[in-house]
Each structure stands twice: as structure tokens, then as C-alpha cells.
Amino acid sequence: MEEASKVSRYLYTAIVLFLIWLFLTASLDPQELAIGAVMSIVVAAFSYELFTTRGLGNLHPRRVAYAIAYIPYFLWAMIMANLDVAYRVLHPKRPINPGIVECKTVLETGAGKLALANSITLTPGTITLDIDGDKYFIHWIDVKDSSVEGASQNITRPFEKFLKVIFG
């Protein structure tokens, strides 16, 4: 993937850090804002090379909109998965069929793969065991389809719709 210019990457890191500072201080006091701006600029100088390769491209409105939409979508998926696992636990016959399946992802960037792995782990019933290139090894509480294509359809596709746009 092509890298954005240094300025763009630096600015993006500083902006994200400043937003984090706002969350940390939870205050709009001009003194806090001034020191926050200084600290964001200083810390960004040390860390922008690690933090981002795409720079300000991450702030494309489409990406931001999908990222915001992903939060309720993911929370809903998490609630449904919680209820599903609770049902399996409480059911007297315990209808589980655990196993490890392999999935293939369409995501290409490291950040996207990390977000997908964490999304899968955070929804109960599925845990990402390992990532190898574009292959995910996932422990699934109820293996409905053990083929690579079928498992991907069930586990990774729903998240990838969003993550592909956000992270690529």
C-alpha cells in the first residue's frame, strides 16, 4: 500500500492524540487545550512513523461515517451473541458443537486485521486463536459450516462489510 506524505501522517497522529487528550481531561479549559496541543505535537513527533501509514486519508468522511456506524452495529452483534451463548448455557440439552474453523479475510491492512480479530473475540461464541496472512483460525461454539467459505460467510463477512471501508 502506498504511504501518505510525512506531513499528512504527522498531522493525523497529532489530531488523534489531541482528541484523546480531550477525552482524558474532559475539560475545555483553555489552559488544558493549550498544553494538550503542545503534548500532542510532541508525542506525535515521536510516534507518527509507527502510528499510521495512511495519514489524513483516515479522516475521509466515508471512513469516519462507517467507523461511527460500526459502533452500534458491533454493539448489537455483541448483544445478540451474548444472548445466543446465554441460551446455549441455560438450555438443559446444552446445544453446543464446538470446533476450530479456518476463515479467509478480504482485509489487507494490519489495522483492519487487528480490528477484525478483536471484533471476533469480543463477540461471545467465537475466539480468534491465530492470524496467518489472510487466514484466521477461530474457535466457534457452534460450528454450522466447517468449510473455509461457509465459516467466513458466517463469522467474518458481517464485520468485513464495515472494516473493509474503514481500514481497507
Binding site: 489552559q31 502510528f51 494490519g110 489495522a111 478483536n118
Partner: protein, 238 residues
């Protein structure tokens, strides 16, 4: 006979010791509040130091010399680690790199961890925390980098210089106090300049506490990163 003599001697000495202890305790007025120094600090902390966090005010302002000693202790500990683990040639020998989750997560988290460390030491005079936990947090960012990447090393030369400058900075702040106010680590920013008097409870207050805590944060961060570096590297034979 002997045992009887021994026993009576023991009883007599116990009685004597007991009498001394009772005498000593008789002077303590039980049931009364004896926290005189603590009360003094709590009542005067705002007008004397400008900090709302009394603990920080005691650590950095009233007992600033102790804290300079603590920083020195940490410096000696780090030097000791370096001396004990010294070898002619040492390199990182880890063969297995971190998984994608660890490496990507590290890249993502390092700036946040650093910023959070800075947040902790900058707000030392307002919130719990200060230079020591802030510096330790910053060192965690470097520990993450060491764990995720097998070839990563901190920039040693720069870190050593920054650490030395931070240490000298602390003493310099103290010496300026000596020149202005007459004693070492006199809080010239608060007592003399009256800087931040209208701002108690906001960021720009607390006299030299934020400055000293920033210095301590930088020093502790670089020092602990150096310790991590020393502990992770292993001897290489040519």
C-alpha cells in the same frame, strides 16, 4: 539453683523494661489527635504551594529534597542493573517476532500510552499520580515496542543525554530557589513570582510542581526504558 537464678533475673529485667515502656507511654495523651504536621499541611497547602493535591505538594514541595533523593536512588538502581548485566557485546536475541495482533496493536497503542504518561505527570498537582507513575507509563510504551519487534532498540545516545539533562534540570530548579529564596528547592515560581495565584485548581498553578514532575517523568521514563533494554539483551559471543 541455676535455673531459679536465671528465671528471677529474667523476671527482674522484664519488669524493668516494662516499667520503661510504661513510663514512655504515660506521656502520650491517648484519644487526642496528634497529627499536627498533617493538619498543618492540609490547612496551608493551598496558599503555600498552590497545589490542590496535598500529597503531591508534600512529596515535591515540602519534602522536595527527599524526592531528589528518590530520583537518585532510581538512578543508582538503573546504574546497578547496567553494571551487573554488563557484557562486552550484547544484542537482542529474540528469534520469534510478535503476532500481527501484538505488532499492529503496539503501533496503535504506543502514542496513546505516551500521551497518557504525559497526562499523568502534567496533572500531578491536580489529580492522583505524578512524575513516577507517569514515567513508568511512558516506559511501558517502550516495553511494548521491545516485545513486539525483535530488532527494536531505544535510541541509547539520545536517552542517556535526555536523562542526564533531566537530572541536572531538577538540581537547577533547586539551585535557582537557593539563589532567590535562600534555601535549596525554594518554590520561586509560586512564592516569588506569585504565578498562577488566580488559577488554583486549574492547570497553570502549583508553582514548580508541574515543572519538577515533568522533569521526573522524563527521567523515570528514560531510566526504566534503559533498565528494560538492559534486561532484554543477552550476551553474544563472537
Amino acid at each position: 539453683m541455676v535455673s531459679l537464678l536465671k528465671r528471677s533475673l529474667a523476671i527482674i529485667s522484664i519488669l524493668v523494661i516494662g516499667y520503661w515502656l510504661a513510663q514512655g507511654l504515660a506521656g502520650v495523651p491517648f484519644g487526642e489527635d496528634k497529627m499536627l504536621v498533617g493538619h498543618y499541611y492540609l490547612q496551608h497547602v493551598k496558599e503555600q504551594t498552590g497545589a490542590v493535591n496535598a500529597v503531591t505538594a508534600v512529596v515535591v514541595n515540602y519534602r522536595g529534597l527527599d524526592t531528589l533523593g528518590e530520583v537518585t536512588v532510581l538512578f543508582i538502581a538503573s546504574t546497578g542493573v547496567a553494571a551487573l548485566l554488563w557484557r562486552k557485546k550484547r544484542e537482542r536475541t529474540a528469534k520469534v517476532g510478535g503476532s500481527p495482533v501484538l505488532t499492529v496493536g503496539t503501533k496503535f497503542l504506543v502514542p496513546f500510552v505516551m500521551l497518557f504518561g504525559a497526562y499523568i505527570f502534567i496533572h500531578g498537582h491536580l489529580t492522583p499520580g505524578g512524575g513516577f507513575p507517569g514515567g513508568a507509563t511512558i516506559a511501558t510504551a517502550f516495553l511494548l515496542l521491545y516485545m513486539a519487534f525483535t530488532i527494536y532498540e531505544i535510541p541509547h545516545k539520545a536517552f542517556e543525554k535526555v536523562e542526564g539533562l533531566a537530572g541536572m534540570g531538577y538540581v537547577l530548579v533547586g539551585l535557582i530557589g537557593l539563589a532567590i529564596g535562600g534555601y535549596f528547592l525554594f518554590d520561586w515560581i509560586w512564592q516569588d513570582w506569585q504565578w498562577g495565584v488566580d488559577n488554583i485548581g486549574r492547570l497553570f498553578s502549583g508553582g514548580f510542581i508541574p515543572i519538577i514532575y515533568t522533569i521526573i517523568g522524563i527521567k523515570v521514563g528514560t531510566e526504566l526504558s534503559g533498565i528494560v533494554d538492559n534486561m532484554l539483551k543477552e550476551e553474544v559471543r563472537e
